[in-house]
């Protein structure tokens, strides 16, 4: 010990400085490392839960089924069963929370053509029309959106 302290002063200062840096780093690391760091890996584990706390905008089919089960059942029986309600009617979480007529889209003509207007890039199995040759009135005059094979 005494010999260690008797080292030349310039060496002693360097050793002291090095020890000081290591101690300061250790203290800073101890206080600044987030508690959930390395919970799952080299990142902050709490970030997972934080990312999961966001509010949703789309409610999901089940939420629609709670009130509109007639329409839902009808949809599920016909060709459009693959569609979600919110495909055509837009995001519905606000409507599911507070059901009003003005916070959900009434689907229209544009929604039909968005999928069914003829396009050479669309797969052949998909039913397509050239709207200007097909009919100029409303789609719903001849087709029921919730059961497309039915004629009104």
């Amino acid at each position: 010990m005494r010999r260690f302290l008797n080292m030349p002063p310039q060496v002693f200062r360097i050793v002291l400085l090095a020890v000081g840096i290591v101690v300061a780093y250790s203290i800073a690391r101890y206080f600044l490392t987030p508690p959930s760091f390395e919970e799952y890996g080299f990142y902050r584990g709490a970030a997972l839960a934080e990312l999961a706390t966001r509010d949703r905008v789309y409610a999901g089919k089940k939420a629609c089924d709670e009130c509109h089960s007639d329409e839902y059942q009808m949809l599920m029986k016909h060709e459009h069963k693959g569609l979600a309600c919110e495909s055509c009617h837009g995001p519905g979480e606000a409507h599911a929370e507070d059901p009003r007529k003005d916070n959900i889209q009434r689907s229209g003509y544009a929604a039909c053509l968005r999928c069914h207007e003829a396009n050479p890039s669309r797969p052949k199995w998909h039913k397509q029309i050239v709207s200007k040759n097909h009919y100029t009135g409303k789609c719903t005059e001849c087709h029921v959106p919730h059961s497309p094979s039915e004629v009104p």
Partner: protein, 269 residues
């Protein structure tokens, strides 16, 4: 070495020992206070990320290019207006070869105006000159060896144990390394938060038992989503692998994407 212990040195040693004993809990208390100030946690309980392995698959044979997925993604995740997308739909048009050119196929034209949200303009070549055309939905490829995670200097980008690749918005410094590293162009720097953003598989939805917004609204089930650790009866993901020949994007880069595609051409990058 049998020196007498002086009173002064003994008292000094006792004082040091007491200080040491008191300092440990004081440091712990200070640490909890510091962490409370720096980190806030008001997270939902009941979801264990180690018990899931989420994956998405794309059946391009079924994609009709409606753009509902890209639109739903923008709305669900509040993606900034403009050329910022977490998912988008590309249109590929491969033209017929010029007569006498000796080539099997012509040019490959790719476009994705506004991510496909507002549909596609008339094809740039007449219908008769198109050899083959199709739509390809794009999203984070959920790589096994994510280049974006490897380059993050602050540990803000990470592979979560449930298969998602996420960004910790509180620790992202917005350096943009990950955006350059992603070979699929799936990340962007948000002009609002100034942090990197990407597809999270709608992490706030899947942790509550819902499907990602794009999968929810897809009218033709071109997007298939599931949990590899909890296959349901007639699991759509398992059926996808059973019924299709699948491929990944840019397999030569060794990123080992976990998002597989069915029905895409070799021109798709």
């Amino acid at each position: 070495m049998n020196r007498p212990v002086s009173r002064r040195s003994l008292l000094g040693k006792i004082a040091a020992a007491v200080a040491g004993v008191l300092a440990a809990p004081a440091a712990k208390a200070a640490k909890t206070i510091a962490q409370k100030v720096l980190v806030s946690t008001d997270a939902p309980k009941g979801y264990d990320p180690t018990q899931h392995k989420w994956v998405m698959a794309i059946d391009a044979n079924r994609c009709i290019g409606c753009g509902f997925c890209a639109e739903a993604c923008k709305k669900e995740n509040h993606v900034p207006e403009g050329p910022y997308f977490r998912t988008w739909v590309e249109r590929y048009i491969i033209t017929k070869p010029k007569p006498g050119s000796g080539a099997a196929r012509g040019e490959t034209l790719v476009d994705s105006p506004d991510g496909g949200i507002h549909g596609y303009p008339e094809a740039p070549v007449p219908k008769e000159e198109i050899q083959h055309s199709f739509f390809v939905p794009k999203l984070c490829n959920l790589c096994h060896h994510s280049p974006c995670v490897q380059v993050c200097p602050v540990g803000a980008s990470f592979d979560a144990p449930d298969g998602t690749v996420l960004v910790d918005p509180n620790y992202c410094i917005g350096c943009g390394f990950c955006i350059q590293a992603c070979p699929y162009g799936c990340r962007f720097l948000s002009p609002i938060t100034k942090t990197a953003e990407k597809c999270t598989l709608c992490y706030h939805r899947i942790t509550r038992g819902l499907k990602p917004a794009c999968v929810e609204v897809c009218p033709t089930q071109a997007r298939i989503f599931g949990d590899l650790k909890h296959p349901v009866p007639d699991d759509p993901i398992q059926q996808f692998y059973q019924n299709n020949l699948v491929m990944a994007l840019k397999p030569h880069l060794g990123t080992e994407p976990r998002v597989f595609y069915a029905g895409i051409d070799k021109e798709v990058r």
